[in-house]
């Protein structure tokens, strides 16, 4: 039973983890994209449609990534090239995504989906308890683990990661050094969108293999909150995502065995935790300075 519970936690945490890692890279480049929910649902609907039409969930995954990425480029064009307000544009992207996904997916409502099967790694998946948990998952979960390690390495061990962080902290200085700020930011936004699309694909191919309008149900917003919760550190995102997932599942189990906890309070816990973390990090000036991208949310127009 413990194994089953933990498996459920992995399922609940994976969409948060992937979308939050994507958004972390975006924010590290100094761009705040509030359109995660919109990009995620675009990924969900296109992944589902592609899987249905081709009968192959792997095509669905690719379609989800492309849909999320392509959709994020609208945001990139408006905020980076046209220098529009990032907050307003991000919100518009969410609203547009939810509406557009509902429209294109209309004829796919009420169809049972194709579930992406797990790939068990021989021998390793036979280890009791953690075996199936870590090595008996589907490909998207493996990608999510790789994303955490990959971004950690990229951000802090590579030259390109340093470039990304410098653009997020001081775009003027980066520009003066000959770095193309808009190119870096475009790539970051594209990466973020692709991740959100992949998270959406996970929802409609694994979590609940179906397409229903609005099925992301606010997960994009939790992913956004997670980036702040993690104070822009990839390794803390995995902690946060799994913590949020575990709290959701734990409260259901508590209810089912009859432990009386106010379920409304537990539903609000992820948000409360984020506010607490925000208060804590804003009190510690030094901590804020180390990890928060200094130019987050500010547009950059190079002097010509």
């Amino acid at each position: 039973m413990i194994e089953n519970i933990l498996l459920t936690v992995v399922t609940a945490a994976t969409p948060f983890l992937i979308a939050a890692i994507g958004e972390l890279i975006v924010e590290r480049s100094g761009v705040l994209n509030l359109g995660v929910e919109g990009m995620m649902i675009m990924g969900a609907v296109f992944a589902f449609m592609a899987a249905q039409v081709t009968g192959n969930p792997y095509v669905g995954i690719i379609a989800g990534i492309i849909a999320g990425g392509a959709f994020s480029l609208i945001f990139g064009f408006l905020t980076i090239t046209m220098v529009s307000n990032q907050v307003a544009t991000g919100l518009a992207l969410t609203i547009l995504g939810l509406g557009f996904a509902g429209m294109v997916g209309e004829s796919f409502v009420g169809l049972p989906g194709i579930k992406l099967e797990a790939i068990s790694i021989p021998f390793l998946s036979d280890i009791p308890v953690i075996g199936r948990l870590l090595f008996g998952q589907d490909v998207i979960v493996y990608i999510s683990f790789a994303l955490v390690v990959g971004t950690l390495w990229f951000l802090f061990k590579t030259h390109a990661g340093l470039t990304l962080r410098s653009v997020g902290d001081n775009p003027s200085a980066a520009h003066a050094l000959g770095i193309s700020v808009s190119k870096v930011r475009y790539l970051a936004v594209l990466f973020g969108g692709s991740c959100a699309g992949l998270a959406g694909a996970y929802l409609s191919l694994v979590y609940v293999p179906q397409w229903t309008e609005g099925m992301t149900a606010g997960r994009g917003w939790i992913a956004l909150a997670l980036v702040v919760f993690a104070s822009w550190r990839p390794e803390r995102i995995i902690l946060g995502a799994y913590l949020f997932g575990a709290v959701t599942i734990a409260q259901f189990h508590a209810q089912a065995v009859g432990i009386s906890v106010p379920s409304q309070l537990l539903s609000a816990l992820p948000y409360i935790a984020t506010i607490v973390v925000l208060i804590l990090i804003s009190r510690n000036r030094r901590l804020t300075l180390i990890n928060t991208p200094a130019s987050l949310g500010k547009q950059f127009v190079p002097d010509r």
Binding site: L78, T89, G105, L203, T212, A217, A256
Partner: protein, 360 residues
Amino acid sequence: MKRRIFMLGAAALTAAMGLAASVTAQAEDKLKVGFVYIGPPGDFGWTYQHDQGRKAIEEALGDKVETTFLENVPEGGDSERAIERLARSGHGLIFTTSFGYMDPTLKVAKKFPKVKFEHATGYKRADNVTTYSSRFYEGRYLLGQIAARESKKGVAGYIASFPIPEVIRGINAFVLGAQSVNPDFKLKVVWVNTWFDPGKEADAAKTLVDQGVDIITQHTDSTAAMQVAAERGIKAFGQASDMIEFGKETQLTSIIDNWDDYYIARTKAVLDGSWKSEETWGGMADEMVHIAPFTNMADETKAEAEKTMAAIKSKEFHPFTGPIMKQDGSVWLKEGEVADDGTLLGMNFYVKGVDDKFPQ
């Protein structure tokens, strides 16, 4: 440069809002009928069935009417603005289709005395506000009986949304039905605090399976729980619409909400001027509660279910017939006594046998 871009952004936002709202163009002589939905019409559950009703109006009355809907409207303050927007834009009849729209509907109705309002599942009325609902508990009782006959472990799981009378009544009816067959039958209740979140509904369903239930029933709006049940090889009941496609070997039956006839009748009443504020609470006898074909169950269970269904339909039998005790052991209904609609509509207590602490 900057201003133009801002306007572009604003235009995109407005366009997106328009998409989400899908308000149709105006026409003066037609009756405009508005709907406010809690979820998306594509949820394949509660809202989907209301939207089928809206389409039925259009089909039946053709060019005499024009329908509009606002989807994903949260309960509470936001819904008041949404309802008011419909009233202001010339709608003559407005259906608000979730319990939490009750007070907002009444508030808006006061400001627009000429507009007719219809609020689903509530209990407060006014001269221009009618309430309507279906006696889903008739179906729930039937489900309880089927569950008790088909469950091998003697325990079922119930995915509940919010602790409102409608949901409490459903839980009570299910338990009474189950215990009429097996007095020791247990029900595990999990509250998810949402009407629609496929992910959470799936999580709750998995939790219940892990906790050892072998039948799941739900009072939430998506097909997620049915899929989980199918995957884990247990049985489940559909909700609001026929969900057999999501569990061909899983679904026992499903309570289907049928709003079509009611919506057409009420719209006709506005058109010919006979509309009055009233209270409609229709059940199986009124064709407002349909039951999907009985599938994946023993012949005997099926026969018994058909018997109960016939008795409820002919009003020979009422699921809330005494003796029934409250959860705390006090007597609610004496032998042979039948619950009155007032108590049922405002139900705020569990009956004896529900294995869950009453949510406060």
